[in-house]
């Protein structure tokens, strides 16, 4: 029996090893849904024009996972052009990124909301003689995806979306939806609304949009990163919500556009008050970001987005992620690489690759301002 037990342990250990080995391997295939076609062509062309300057060594960065796919593309192109340089971006979430930044662990942080005043205060400890500034870098539409058989073209307005996600409209053939879609055959089934179960900048931006565009129908705290409305169902991450919408008949949910394109989920067209309903595309999101105003002072380029825009073809449910760095007092050993990298991401070329990954390039005017500020970092 003694012998038996030993063998048993060994068998268990072997089995555990085999299984966990397989798991480690599979775990690598994360929810990276960058369109694979996009890297092939751009890589070689882009490599030629990237200015490496004195970039060298490794820089660490961390933050928002909303810009992960964009960052992956940028890092790949940048590293291909500048030999010996490594940019390591960890998509641990905006909150985590800002914490790491204010503790001085990373050269820059990615965040989908600008620094709060108290965080700026805290950043002064790290940025000797300066402070943390927000540089808008990636824009993107948040698509409202749905799965409803027989309905290919769904138009909704902000009030209807607010009521659906607040469980006030529960049937697909509700008069409010029917009025916006006179030609569609709407079934009488229940609406299954999906939202994020984790805290997220995507949720926060949808909150901000709903409470500005439909203040009468959305009474929840607009700044919250977690979902506060009662009812509905939740899933983890944009990938989780997209997967549920894809699986479930009669469902609706929100996620970055790239998740909708990669899984061919239909997206809602928004009735913003413009002449025609607006589709969620990179181009239309860029038009809406163009209506934003810079609210930051000095070198800080924090934006105040205009969610109520009625401009033709402007899709107002948008998300802008910032790269947060020190205006003065960056670490000497990482500064050249930081500047070279941000120079590239803000350049026309850097912005151009965003469209392929489902993001929206910054409007020319804002991108120009970012390009003015990056070289002055010290």
């Amino acid at each position: 029996m003694k012998l038996q037990r030993k063998n048993g342990l060994r068998a268990t250990a072997l089995g555990a090893l085999a299984i966990s080995g397989a798991l480690v391997l599979t775990a690598c295939g994360s929810d990276d849904n960058t369109a694979t076609g996009s890297d092939g062509g751009d890589k070689t062309n882009a490599a030629s024009n990237i200015k490496c300057d004195e970039a060298k060594g490794q820089i660490l960065a961390a933050g928002s996972s909303a810009q992960k796919n964009a960052m992956d593309l940028w890092v790949k192109n940048f590293q291909a052009a500048c030999s010996g340089v490594e940019v390591n971006y960890q998509p641990i979430g905006s909150g985590g990124g800002i914490t790491k930044f204010t503790q001085g662990q990373v050269a820059f942080a990615g965040s989908d909301s600008a620094l709060k005043p108290e965080e700026v205060e805290e950043s002064k400890k790290i940025c000797k003689g300066g402070q943390g500034i927000n540089l808008p870098m990636v824009g993107g539409p948040v698509a409202i995806g749905y799965n409803l058989e027989g309905v290919d073209d769904l138009v909704l307005d902000s009030a209807t979306i607010a009521k659906i996600f607040d469980s006030k409209i529960t049937k697909w053939n509700d008069p409010a939806i029917a009025k916006l879609n006179p030609d569609a055959k709407l079934p009488s089934s229940s609406i299954q609304a999906f939202h994020r179960s984790d805290e997220s900048g995507t949720t926060q931006n949808l909150h901000k949009y709903l409470s500005e565009a439909a203040p009468a129908d959305w009474k929840h705290d607009p700044k919250s990163k977690s979902w506060l409305a009662p009812g509905g169902q939740a899933a983890n991450g944009s990938s989780g919500v997209a997967a549920q919408v894809k699986q479930t008949q009669g469902s609706i949910g929100y996620f970055e556009l790239s998740y909708a394109t990669s899984q061919s989920i239909s997206t809602v067209k928004l009735d913003t008050g413009a002449a025609a309903p607006v589709e969620a595309t990179s181009e239309n999101a860029s038009k809406a970001i163009a209506a934003a105003k810079v609210k930051g002072t000095g070198k800080d380029l924090a934006l105040s987005l205009d969610y109520k825009t009625k401009a033709e073809g402007a899709y107002p449910i948008i998300l802008v992620t910032y790269e947060i760095a020190c205006d003065k007092g960056n670490k000497a050993e990482t500064l050249p690489t930081l500047k070279a990298f941000l120079n590239y991401t803000a350049s026309d070329e850097g912005q151009k690759v965003l469209t392929d990954a489902g993001y929206a390039p910054l409007p020319a005017e804002i991108a120009a301002k970012v390009r003015e500020i990056v070289p002055t970092l010290s």
Partner: protein, 331 residues
Amino acid sequence: MDTATTASAPPPRAPQQTGTTRGKPRPGDRIFLGLSRGAGISLLVIMAAIAGFLAYRAGIAISKDDANFLTTSEWNPAGDPPVFGIAVLAFGTVVSSVIAMVIAVPVAIGIALFISHYAPRKIATPLAYVVDLLAAVPSIIYGLWGAIFLVPYLDGLNSWLNEYLGWTYIFEKTGEGVARNLFTVGILLAIMILPIITNVTREVFLQVPKMHEEAALALGATRWEVIRMSVLPFGRSGIISASMLGLGRALGETMAVAVVLSPSFIISGHLLDPGGGTFAQNIAAKFNEADEFGRDALIASGLVLFVITLLVNGAARAIIARRKEYSGANA
């Protein structure tokens, strides 16, 4: 059956018991005493340090909480003013664990009895390995399996329960949605804690003194009567300890719950409605994006889980202590 039990009887007590420690303690004894005492004390210090850390950070958060921390069913520490409470989390944690225990304990005892007393050796050994292997599967894999495979299958069970047992209130389905609810989480947790309970229970059953069983057989008892009269009473405290180990895992399970559950901050007795949440799941879901204060709030919820776990373990110890007369020491 006999071969199985004979072969797996406990090894005979080591003979050195006769050489008592009377007289001068030897240096080896003293060193070992010091080492084990040091280990015991360091464990207490570590526990106290954890409790102290949790209490300190939780204190910061709770002092600024604008609502009652224990009874509020909302979680918005980033709000102005911050509002958060653990009512939903405590409810979800306890309910899902109870479901898991109700399912897992009888099944685990059944498997353990089958392996130790019924199955022929050829089946018992591989079956024991397989159950052991279940414990080696990481919880995220249970989560993925649960979300992709189990949930669609349980949809059918949910509608069936709703149709025929809907009158029980707990099985009434009032909301729309797939089976991403506390009931599914309970089933998944039951599968996850099964190997721990089975293993420990099986070991205990194998320790039942041969004389007890043979005496019962000699009196003309059937195999089931042997199990009822000697195996189960002897193993009772072992079963309870094993269940508590399992319960500990169920209470603290994070990833599997986070993947399978569709959380919401609503307390509902309807187990089939999507919603609810557990401490560990909530911490996993909110930690990444939380700011400093949000993390303190999550740590405060962790403190409550810590306390609940301590209470459960204390209760289990008390139950086992009451049943000491059955324990192996007196056999």
